[in-house]
Symmetry: C2
Subunit: 214 residues, 2 copies
């Protein structure tokens, strides 16, 4: 822990009243991974029974959109509404501890940086609801299914681009160590670069495959 | 002019070596409007002759994409590459003066705020080229025309959302007076909210009008 009473970088970051983290990395990651697995499993099983002739690709996409939609809403929601002073709470909740842990990879969360707040507002206001709507749109074969998935992917990619570009321009020194840089800043965010790129490309091709009259 | 030698808000903003603006508002706006009108007129006339059976809507959209694409590339380009120290240049160019004038509506430009820089990087890297590609795609009736226009619109809207949300969260005090708030911060940006909303809605409807096989 640095001279400023917290484990984050840069050390000059002021976090008055910082309460040290109590849960370990494993105690934070395990419930998140277990809950995610439960969501994916539930959507996979339900989509197999109710949907009729949904392809495996469609069912996999439903799992992804349910997982990412709930992650967007639960994490952005708890960051914005329930844990604004998460680093100084005397009796921290699971989510307070989760954001303390993630801040080791990007201390702009602990600092409540304007860019992070703006991105989380857009995440809970648009990306989360759009992702959950995509689950429904795929299940019911709506005609707007591909364009909706494309829109949600593009917003995720644009959000990541703003997230990484601002970090780069603002000093690129927000991680406590190279481990947290690779594991959290790069690793934990990379699914939201790779998967939206794949899904957006697929949607683009499906939409362009048919010429549409003007 | 405030006590810190510049006309911007907040007055505490430090701009060492600030050189006062020489061109008037009219001298800055007139060339911009004239050049924009010239681009729109040229695209309208050329699209009427070469394109064959392009509808008036398609020709109008080509004018918009040419205008917005060139605006994105020329303004973001001059802000990022040619005028990094625009407020302190002894012999300011037209673009230096333009950004001095616009900074009265949003001093984050003069301050070279991280968010502004990130948005301009994305503007010149993606929005500008995508807009110009849309001119070509409409003219040649490419099958990806609607999805490309939709993507470019969504990026413009997401950019505006980040732009306005971060201003709001960072203090909402970046304009020199209510006039500059309404004329520049709101007025000059509103076309990039209104028109992309209309074009994105149209593209969404065109794409959703035909159900696409999975």
């Amino acid at each position: 822990m640095g001279g400023h009473g917290h484990p984050y970088s840069p050390a000059e970051l002021e976090l008055p009243g910082f309460v040290p983290q109590r849960l370990s990395q494993g105690e934070i990651l395990a419930p998140f991974l277990a809950a995610s697995l439960l969501v994916v499993l539930a959507v996979w099983l339900i989509s197999g029974r109710c949907g009729g002739r949904l392809s495996r690709t469609d069912r996999s996409l439903m799992c992804w959109w349910a997982f990412t939609g709930l992650t967007h809403i639960v994490l952005a929601g708890s960051f914005l509404f329930f844990t604004p002073d998460f680093f100084s709470k005397e009796n921290p909740s699971y989510f307070d501890e989760l954001f303390k842990e993630y801040s080791k990879g990007d201390s702009r969360y602990a600092a409540r940086d304007t860019v992070i707040l703006a991105l989380e507002v857009i995440t809970i206001g648009f990306k989360g609801p759009a992702s959950l709507l995509a689950v429904y749109a795929i299940a019911t074969r709506k005609s707007y299914s591909y364009i909706l998935q494309f829109a949600a992917c593009l917003c995720q990619l644009y959000g990541c681009l703003v997230y990484f570009t601002t970090a780069s321009l603002a000093g690129f020194n927000f991680w406590a160590s190279p481990f947290y840089f690779w594991a959290y800043f790069v690793g934990a965010n990379s699914p939201w670069v790779v998967i939206p790129t794949l899904v957006a490309t697929r949607s683009w091709k499906k939409i362009s495959a048919r010429s549409i009259p003007s």
